[in-house]
Symmetry: C2
Subunit: 133 residues, 2 copies
């Protein structure tokens, strides 16, 4: 079987977006959108291999094994790609209950209102405790 016809090779199209595709993490149980980060081919391959979400940090320019510092890893339950094959949706179990480095369950903890931001949800952990220097 040629590589082109091997269906197991079907995945995101990393030829797009300079090989850095947006990846949305969604809580598999609650449906909450937890965060958005980026994956390159290496982080995507490691995600598939390990069953833990691995992103590529643009600011640090290296693989970002989500939770490697905080312990709040994301167990991958399913991976989806969008119609253009250039966005990834990862359904995860968020260990520790919080995806956000600020201690909230979701990074999207601020709602836009006419009166400004409204914080929704409570902190699951104290960032100062978790990210000890």
């Amino acid at each position: 079987m040629s590589e082109a016809s091997d269906k197991s090779k079907q995945g995101p199209d990393f030829a797009k977006c300079d090989g850095l595709l947006p990846a949305i993490a969604q809580d598999v149980a609650t449906g909450d959108v937890l965060m958005m980060a980026y994956m390159n081919p290496e982080s995507y391959a490691e995600t598939l291999e390990t069953g833990r979400a691995v992103y590529f940090s643009r600011s640090r320019n290296k693989l970002w094994r989500k939770g490697e510092e905080s312990g709040n890893v994301q167990k991958v339950h399913a991976i989806y790609v969008d119609c253009d094959l250039d966005t990834i949706l990862v359904k995860v179990e968020q260990i520790g209950g919080a995806a956000c480095h600020e201690g909230y369950r979701s990074c999207f903890f601020r709602k836009v209102t006419p009166e400004g931001f409204e914080v929704q949800g409570e902190r699951v952990f104290d960032p100062a405790e978790v990210y000890k220097k």
Copy 2:
């Protein structure tokens, strides 16, 4: 009140990412992630003003009033920003039932499996019918 202290000005930070921020549309009723696109300041402002999701099409380099062609507009119920203020989450009611131009409810209709893509969900509409030339 100075502009800096006006909380009603609180929103995404369009000084980041060259003013083009990822925007995730999530079905407000089901929690399904429907699509990901981009917003610039103009599309974000029009989204707030009209209560309909307006994106910026990178390929067409212009405002993309979602549903203007297909009629499948997205009524905005709530807008969230992430911890870095550079990703937008829009909770919407998807009129017509399908967000994807391929006729599926969600653009993320393909699951990655070891055997290749597995299409999940059925087509809500036939693209050839909706996007008549």
